[in-house]
């Protein structure tokens, strides 16, 4: 079973000639990572737009794209679209993670179920979402216009969260559990008093990765035909059919920002909920 990568994605190392220009960025606190990543891409992109594919205009210049961010009409449409997508993604995120956590807890309490749970998790991970997406879109059909978006978002976070949660639940020190048992506590008491807490750091690492994953799942479903008319996925289809390069780039940027925000926000919640993993917060003996 593959462990999920847990470290936040840092901006890619700059190439030698650009190195000097970007070294300063490394000193930036990690929580800006998502935003900084976008900034780096913009810089590279500007250079590319001025040098590559000038004939076809496949790479629009940053001003033509960034300008859209200051266009009021464009904004309200985007907010509307993003609202639809984020709504589906959030719902999927909630369900996917809930099912994953419940499954992990059940596996912990009933070990023989582990093999089955592993199979479910791996299968959900191995089926390419692009392949199963259209099937789910047809099944969800007209009754639940955004149903497929929710399902794909849920499927996208299910695997990482199951694995992260199980690893976390198992990470509890054996002596802590022995202690609870020696005092007459049951498996359930040990779970409540020890394992649920010691699982949090690992669980949150997974939840952090699951946030962009859920968003990607929702947008993909919309691109494959799910959801109402005002979603980011639909906007991408529209822009694509008109070969509107600046609009496509603009939508990609918006998606990236939302995705990054989700990652950063879950990270902040993690810091609030699991302060003990970040060391001392109150000076010892201070009263």
């Amino acid at each position: 079973m593959a462990a999920p990568a847990v470290s936040p994605v840092r901006p890619a190392a700059a190439s030698p000639e650009e190195g000097g220009r970007f070294t300063a960025l490394r000193a930036v606190p990690p929580w800006v990572g998502g935003i900084v990543g976008v900034v780096v891409i913009v810089a590279v992109w500007w250079i590319a737009s001025l040098t590559l594919y000038q004939g076809s205009g496949a790479i629009p210049t940053p001003p033509s794209v960034v300008g859209k961010f200051f266009d009021a009409g464009q904004w309200s449409a985007t907010l509307n679209n993003a609202g639809g997508t984020v709504g589906s993604a959030a719902l999927g995120y909630l369900w996917g993670n809930l099912v994953a956590i419940v499954l992990a807890v059940i596996v912990l309490l009933v070990p023989p179920l582990e093999a089955l749970a592993n199979q479910i998790a791996v299968v959900s991970y191995c089926i390419p979402l692009v392949a199963i997406g259209p099937v789910i879109v047809i099944v969800a059909g007209r009754d639940a216009p955004s149903g497929a978006s929710v399902v794909l978002a849920a499927m996208s976070c299910f695997f990482t969260t199951t694995v992260g949660c199980l690893l976390g639940l198992r990470a509890a020190p054996r002596t802590s559990i022995d202690l609870i048992r020696a005092y007459g506590g049951s498996t359930w008491t040990a779970l409540r008093k020890v394992q649920l807490f010691s699982a949090l750091p690992s669980l949150f690492a997974a939840l952090k990765i699951a946030a962009p994953a859920a968003f990607l799942g929702a947008i993909l479903a919309e691109y494959l035909g799910s959801g109402g008319d005002s979603t980011l996925g639909r906007a991408v289809i529209a822009a694509q059919s008109q070969s509107d390069a600046p609009q496509l780039w603009y939508l990609a940027l918006v998606s990236g920002i939302i995705s990054g925000l989700g990652f950063v926000m879950v990270g902040l919640v993690a810091k609030l909920v699991t302060p003990w993993t970040t060391g001392a917060d109150v000076p010892a003996g201070a009263r």
Binding site: S176, L179, I180, A182, S198, P275, A280, P283
Partner: protein, 284 residues
């Protein structure tokens, strides 16, 4: 309080009395014919061969022996963490199950095993929470000051030194006001100086709050200093090789460790452990 009862030959027990009544009469720790075989797949390890051991109520028993001889296994059986393959283990005439049910067992391990998200006070309260007991007001504060950590009630384990954490573990062990204490190398991970100090404190606490105590240790001197009885175990499969009653007066003060009587006991135990002329590696 220092009288002991020992029976190293299972067959030699009186056959005229009812064994059950006899077991209840022999208070303290009473282990008879205890055996433990761990099986891992097709392989199996005999951790304990038929083991017998007995002490009186509220006496302090230390288990010494080479690594892997089954000391922790005995302690874990007494704590209800392992089930014996054969034999019985009673403490104060009662089974582990009864003692756990009445919340009379305190335990501490080599690792403090504090929960990092709980404060010192909240860690000490844990056994009471598990037992569903609301602590009397002031109990936790008393325990904190008993182990010399006043002012650190609200600190998190991550902010404490190793010695302080182990003090918290001892306070937690005392939270249920146990009549039975099981300590598995409680200060084994600490440096000699801290360990020495904590031993003196443990002795003071144990004198204030008597409890039938079993301590597993590698320190010969600390075993002599603290115990009424020291049982030395032989290598695998674990058996009790010899039991030495430590007939030194109480209360025991640190100065006792510089007396010839004390050293006589240390030498005798080293001899049993390492053989004549063998240099004790971890005696101090």
């Amino acid at each position: 309080m220092t009288g002991t009862h020992l029976d190293r030959h299972a067959g030699s027990r009186s056959s005229t009395t009812d064994p059950r009544a006899e077991a209840r009469a022999a208070t303290g720790i009473n282990i008879q014919g205890l055996e433990k075989v761990f099986s891992m797949g097709r392989r199996s390890v005999q951790a304990l061969a038929s083991t017998n051991l007995g002490t009186t109520q509220n006496s302090f028993l230390s288990l010494l022996g080479p690594s892997g001889c089954g000391k922790s296994t005995i302690l874990r059986i007494l704590a209800g963490l392992e089930t014996p393959t054969a034999g019985t283990a009673l403490i104060n005439g009662r089974s582990t199950w009864e003692i756990q049910r009445d919340h009379q067992l305190g335990i501490a391990f080599q690792e403090a095993a504090l929960l990092p998200w709980r404060t010192v006070a909240s860690n000490i309260r844990l056994p009471l929470e598990v037992a569903g007991i609301t602590p009397e007001p002031g109990l936790i504060d008393d325990l904190v000051s008993l182990v010399g950590l006043s002012g650190f009630e609200k600190a998190k384990p991550g902010q404490l030194s190793g010695g302080m954490r182990q003090r918290v573990a001892i306070a937690r062990c005392l939270a249920v006001q146990p009549t039975v204490m099981l300590l598995d190398e409680p200060f084994g991970a600490l440096d000699d100086m801290t360990r020495q100090r904590l031993n003196v404190e443990l002795l003071r606490i144990w004198t204030e709050r008597p409890a039938t105590t079993l301590m597993v240790t590698h320190g010969i001197a600390e075993a002599v200093f603290l115990s009424d009885v020291v049982a030395v175990m032989s290598p695998r499969p674990g058996r009790i090789a010899e039991v030495v009653e430590i007939d030194l007066p109480r209360p025991r003060l640190p100065e006792l460790q510089r007396t010839p009587e004390f050293h006589e006991y240390v030498d005798r135990l080293s001899e049993i452990l390492f053989g004549r002329g063998g240099a004790p590696a971890d005696a101090h």
